[in-house]
């Protein structure tokens, strides 16, 4: 994995309406999230979140991290914060294995979804995703994988592109180095 697709990824993701920021550390990411969102924030406990103590980092930065059953955080929690498995530069897509229901709730319900991406995880295009996607699907364990490209959108009224239909209104992609280069973990 290299960072050579970073530029392409940044351009395409911005083109579909994502906010893309390069940050120096997870601490900076936590500060950014804290300054951008107010209200209940869903932060699922994933292997990477645990390893990087994401929840406490966010709490310390002043984020209102929701404690409890995510289904009880209301219909429209303010934010959701996750890592990702990998990205695809050609379409500006973030891929997130979301079998754990908390990941799904944290990425579908909130107004804003913050996703922390290690540039080492950016693949050239969606054909390059065939291999990791095939690996993920091996065996017969239940699986839920989400490709996310920009915020939720619709053009169903008079064909006018409108952002924020049923999913998050905003997608913030925070690029931070040295998180993980393992495409199988998030």
């Amino acid at each position: 994995m290299t960072e050579k697709y970073l530029e392409k990824f940044t351009t395409t993701a911005k083109r579909v309406g994502a906010v893309v920021l390069q940050l120096d550390s997870l601490q900076d990411a936590a500060n950014y999230i804290s300054s951008t969102t107010q209200g209940l924030t869903l932060v699922p406990e994933t292997p990477l979140a645990r390893r990087h103590s994401l929840r406490s980092l966010l709490q310390d930065a002043g984020v209102d991290v929701f404690d409890g059953n995510f289904r009880e955080a209301g219909h429209f929690p303010a934010g959701g914060v996750t890592f990702c498995n990998f990205c695809m530069a050609d379409s500006g897509t973030v891929v997130l294995e979301s079998t754990d229901e908390d990941i799904r709730l944290a990425t579908t319900l909130p107004e804003v979804h913050f996703i922390i991406v290690d540039p080492a995880k950016i693949l050239v295009d969606n054909l390059a995703a065939v291999a990791p996607m095939t690996t993920m699907h091996e065996g017969s364990d239940p699986l839920f994988v989400a490709y996310i490209t920009g915020p939720s959108r619709t053009a169903d009224v008079e064909r006018v592109l409108t952002i924020g239909c049923h999913g998050p209104r905003e997608l913030h992609i925070l690029l931070v180095n040295n998180i993980s280069n393992d495409l199988m973990e998030n």
Partner: protein, 727 residues
């Protein structure tokens, strides 16, 4: 259910309300730009060939792939039910809902659920199906059906949506798009939380994983698949793909072709019973045949199941743009809708929309699965005609007259004399006489109300040919000329011009007199028997002498020889090889001039730098891939080609379509073309098709008689004449 009279009324109503048509035109234009941008750097032809091959594999191995899918899905905890029809599928969900005591189903988009009239079926059992896709919800509130596969409510305007939302919520909601979307967001969020069952469709059923794939933008499918504790997948069997790789490759085509997006906001892959609220989700996958197995077995129509439901065939269809999907379609709309309606709902339901296809092949050019929609519809037209007849006029014209070449040609000769009382001098001096009003009171509408019709030429090309001197001593080529009816009886001057141009390049023209009509008018009207007869007559005549090439000045005739003669005679052993050999050496005149002779470097004549705009004929561009050639030729003689908007959009002619079939739709399509021509400000429109000439000379003539419509070959001949005069 729907009679042809009802159908005509819906056409008239659609045409009387141009607001929708205008919106669909705007959408069609912006779609083309977005799509082109989305494919930048990619090879669409290569991608669609691959997809088409993939889908062939699926068809051939569908039984094994289906079994593999079921085995893998069950291993991941899914319950799979194979429903032979939509009723079985509905009944399964109703039983499931009753078992669970479920009263609310949150539903994301599933076209097969439209086919099943699912919402109505479950409502009869006290179960409410809540549509959550914005467009589907709007359509549900309006009590309508979707008028487009990707954008179900494309036919509605924001004011109408606001009215529906206000009525449903009991509070006034202003007709601003953002407000409307926000209202849906808030209002429908409750449904996901309250629903006992979430129902989604599936864009892919991945055989080697047992998982499904969902391609969406709004995010409602993800919520439907997440919040309710039971997930029902309502999918049709032709969504099968072999593996993840194939599915991912389709995700590269589907959004690009549907909306010009590189990827939709969400692509969601779900396998088995994922965790939900501390337990395992219950997932039921209902795989619906609903007529697909029969369609797979139909040799002539099976390719329709290669469809990935991108809706592009509607986006580019001039008929859809004119009347909308509620008229030109049923559950499925536009070109693919014609075919699926015939198979899923019956030929009776499909007969009017089958005839409404103008045959312009714009859908074929954009189809990501490379389905030859037009050819399949042609087969259906023949089925419709077998079943319901084609009407008295066509019966007499095709069966009694055109089949008999001698009778046909002597009748045309007689008609050229008999028509004199109704013809008038052309408004343009020196141009052929025209018919401004026809005394045909038995016709529903006056043909000439909105366009002039050309008179039949005083002397047909076949009657002039022998008197045209050709003095070439050692020609480089001897070519046969397949003149076509338009070139023979309406515009014989084009053939005369062709001889002049070819002679100047040392090519001799032979005219085999036994040739007849190419038969496409009969085929397009569904009269296969006459089509076969006419094919035999012309194959015989054009094969008599050993000629280097056969040239046409009408691209429909070229397609007739290259595609239809070969197809129609494939099962006639004594004809098949002859037809294939003929097809090999047949081409349009401008393709021969440019690609074989390299005429743009040889025509030693320069016109005085006139501006010309070029209209691409449907069958020339999309039937023979010829469009660079005439432009190169026009440039080479000093014309500047000024491009009109959508130069390859149909002119509205479509042969008998504009006279007997759908004159009202035709009229609208022609009006669009006339507008784009006038917008260029150019006074000469070149084209390579006598059919387009009939349509455009007539309609442009009525709109602005300072604009001249002319065959490219005529402009070449004029340039040669000018050069001669100068010398």
């Amino acid at each position: 259910m729907s009679s042809s009279n009802d159908y005509k009324k819906t056409v008239d109503a659609a045409i009387a309300n141009p607001k929708l048509s205008k919106a669909l035109h705007l959408f069609g234009d912006s779609y083309l730009i977005a799509r082109e941008n989305a494919y930048k750097g990619l090879d669409f032809e290569e991608m669609r060939n691959e997809l088409s091959d993939m889908k062939d594999e699926v068809r051939i191995n569908r039984k094994q792939l289906l079994a593999e899918f079921v085995k893998n899905a069950e291993a991941a905890g899914s319950t799979v039910f194979l429903a032979k029809d939509t009723k079985e599928a509905n009944d399964y969900v109703i039983r499931l809902a009753k078992d669970k005591g479920a009263t609310l189903i949150a539903k994301s988009k599933s076209m097969v659920s439209e086919e099943a009239h699912f919402n109505k079926a479950v409502a009869a059992h006290g179960i409410r199906a809540a549509e959550t896709d914005l467009g589907e919800w709007i359509v549900q509130l309006a009590g309508q059906r979707p008028s487009h596969m990707v954008m179900p409510a494309i036919h509605m305007f924001k004011e109408e949506v606001a009215e529906l939302f206000s009525k449903e919520s009991g509070e006034p909601i202003s007709p601003e798009i953002n407000t409307l979307v926000n209202h849906a967001r808030t209002r429908l969020r409750k449904e996901y939380f309250d629903a006992d069952i979430g129902l989604t469709g599936a864009n892919f059923l991945v055989a080697n994983t047992g998982g499904i794939g969902l391609v969406t933008n709004e995010g409602n499918a993800r919520l439907c698949a997440t919040l309710p504790k039971v997930h029902v997948v309502f999918a049709s069997i032709h969504k099968l793909v072999r593996n993840m790789e194939d599915a991912i490759k389709i995700t590269r085509l589907l959004p690009r072709n549907a909306t010009g997006q590189l990827l939709t906001s969400y692509v969601t892959w779900i396998k088995g019973c994922v965790p939900t609220d501390g337990e395992q989700k219950e997932q039921h996958i209902i795989l619906i045949d609903g007529g697909r197995e029969a369609l797979y077995e139909s040799k002539t129509c099976q390719d329709a199941l290669k469809c990935i439901q991108c809706g592009a065939c509607a986006n580019v269809c001039p008929v859809f743009q004119t009347v909308g999907g509620h008229v030109f379609g049923s559950i499925y709309i536009s070109a693919i809708g014609v075919i699926l309606t015939a198979f899923y709902e019956g030929l009776d339901k499909a007969k009017d929309i089958t005839r409404a296809c103008i045959g312009c092949r714009s859908c074929v050019a954009v189809c990501p699965s490379k389905i030859d929609l037009e050819e399949i519809i042609l087969h259906l037209k023949s089925e419709v005609t077998k079943e319901y007849g084609m009407g008295v006029i066509k019966n007499v014209a095709f069966k009694a007259i055109m089949k008999n070449r001698g009778l046909f040609h002597s009748m045309v000769r007689a008609a050229s004399k008999l028509q004199l009382p109704v013809t008038h001098k052309n408004r343009v001096p020196g141009q052929q006489r025209i018919i401004r009003h026809l005394p045909l009171h038995f016709m529903e509408k006056d043909f000439t109300e909105w366009r002039d019709l050309p008179a039949i030429a005083a002397k047909s090309f076949r009657d002039q040919f022998d008197n045209i001197p050709q003095t070439l001593f050692n020609p480089d080529y001897r070519v046969g000329f397949f003149v076509g009816c338009g070139g023979d009886f309406v515009y014989p001057e084009v053939g005369v011009a062709l001889i002049k141009v070819l002679n100047s390049l040392n090519v001799e023209v032979v005219f085999p007199k036994g040739q007849s009509c190419c038969g496409i008018p009969a085929l397009y009207s569904g009269d296969t028997a006459t089509g076969i007869d006419l094919a035999k007559q012309s194959v015989e005549a054009l094969s008599e002498e050993d000629l280097d090439y056969i040239l046409c000045i009408c691209p429909t005739c070229t397609m007739g020889v290259k595609r239809d003669f070969v197809d129609r005679l494939a099962d006639h052993p004594q004809w098949a090889a002859k037809a294939r050999a003929l097809a090999e050496k047949t081409m349009d005149a401008s393709a021969f001039l440019e690609n074989i002779l390299g005429a743009s470097n040889k025509l030693d004549c320069v016109a005085p730098g006139e501006s010309v705009t070029y209209h691409d004929s449907c069958h020339l561009k999309r039937g023979s891939d010829v469009w660079k050639e005439p432009r190169a030729l026009l440039n080479s003689i000093g014309h500047e080609v000024v491009e009109m908007k959508n130069s390859d959009r149909c002119c509205g002619f479509g042969g008998t379509y504009s006279f007997l079939g759908q004159p009202q739709i035709s009229k609208q399509i022609t009006a669009d073309k006339v507008d784009t021509i006038k917008t260029t400000g150019v006074k000469t429109v070149a084209m390579d098709c006598p059919g387009c000439m009939i349509m455009l000379k007539g309609a442009v003539g009525k709109a602005d008689d300072s604009i001249r419509c002319v065959h490219t070959i005529e402009l070449l001949a004029e340039a040669i004449d000018k050069k001669k005069k100068q010398n």
